[in-house]
Symmetry: C2
Subunit: 150 residues, 2 copies
DNA sequence: ATCATTGCAAAAGCTTTGCATAAGA
DNA sequence: TCTTATGCAAAGCTTTTGCAATGAT
């Protein structure tokens, strides 16, 4: 399997774009983060590592990473964008606790059937899907019950 | 079944908030729109009807409508929020064409099983979920084939 | 008479963009 | 050498907020 750097390098070449240090460093960092991130935290992390890259470059690089399937946007409904690397990972969905805000990932094989049905029933060609679940984790449910009991 | 106005009136009363003309007018308009909307278009529509309500009031009212389950946020990944009324509607998901941008709604009963599994397996209490699908509609697939053939 | 709500305008995010400089190809 | 990419700062958007005035209870 190609590494994410190779994938991007190839993408860049095919498009007549340029393989730059900045893009390499950003991409490497993204694949070191095994969580979701936003532009601000990514920029901060790079800074911590002594890597000087402007936010503007991050903002300009992300659409490219997304376009070649290395990264995807994640919607956490909090007013700005979050991202995660997806290349080499199984597809997963998010379940965010409305109490503590913790995000948990889970896999759901059944969703393949949904894609299939959309293809058969609507002639739709599915590129990707994202299932976002909101609710309460066991700890927050318990906390809620105690609060209500008072 | 209670009307959306009654639902909101009750919610407002229970919370010691106030039932105002502005909130009533905004809510009525939202339930007249049988599509997705954003703050700007909602504001514009109200204006067209000679209703003077500031955007600030819309921004302040929406979280209340969401909180009492009348409205939900929709993520179309285009940099700002979209909304739709959900009270009295079956749960549905969105499939947005990456070609023409058209949004189509569809129901997917299988997702109830997903909620169930999250409850049983993780002890999670699901409040709601949203499945967003991206791909190409039949027309855009065809257009794409023609373009590539040239 | 209270106190929440409104409208306005200013402020606050986050993201994009223009432009001169740097650096891949 | 020819362009694309970068960094900076400014501009752009959407959304939020402070405050005086208004209006609901």
């Amino acid at each position: 399997m190609k590494s994410e750097l190779e994938v991007f390098r190839e993408y860049v070449r095919q498009r007549g774009l340029r393989w730059t240090q900045e893009r390499k460093l950003i991409l490497q960092k993204i694949f070191e983060i095994h969580e979701h991130f936003d532009v601000d935290s990514l920029h901060w992390l790079l800074k911590q590592n002594g890597v000087k890259v402007s936010k503007a470059s991050i903002y300009r690089a992300l659409p490219l990473f997304i376009d070649c399937g290395l990264v995807r946007e994640v919607d956490f409904s909090d007013g700005h964008w979050h991202y995660e690397h997806i290349y080499g990972h199984k597809h997963h969905n998010h379940m965010k606790c409305l109490g503590c805000g913790e995000v948990r990932e889970f896999e759901e094989p059944i969703l393949a059937q949904v894609d299939q049905r959309l293809t058969q029933e609507y002639g739709y060609s599915v590129v990707f899907h994202q299932l976002e679940v909101r609710g309460y984790c066991p700890a927050c449910q318990k906390a809620g019950e105690e609060t209500r009991a008072r």
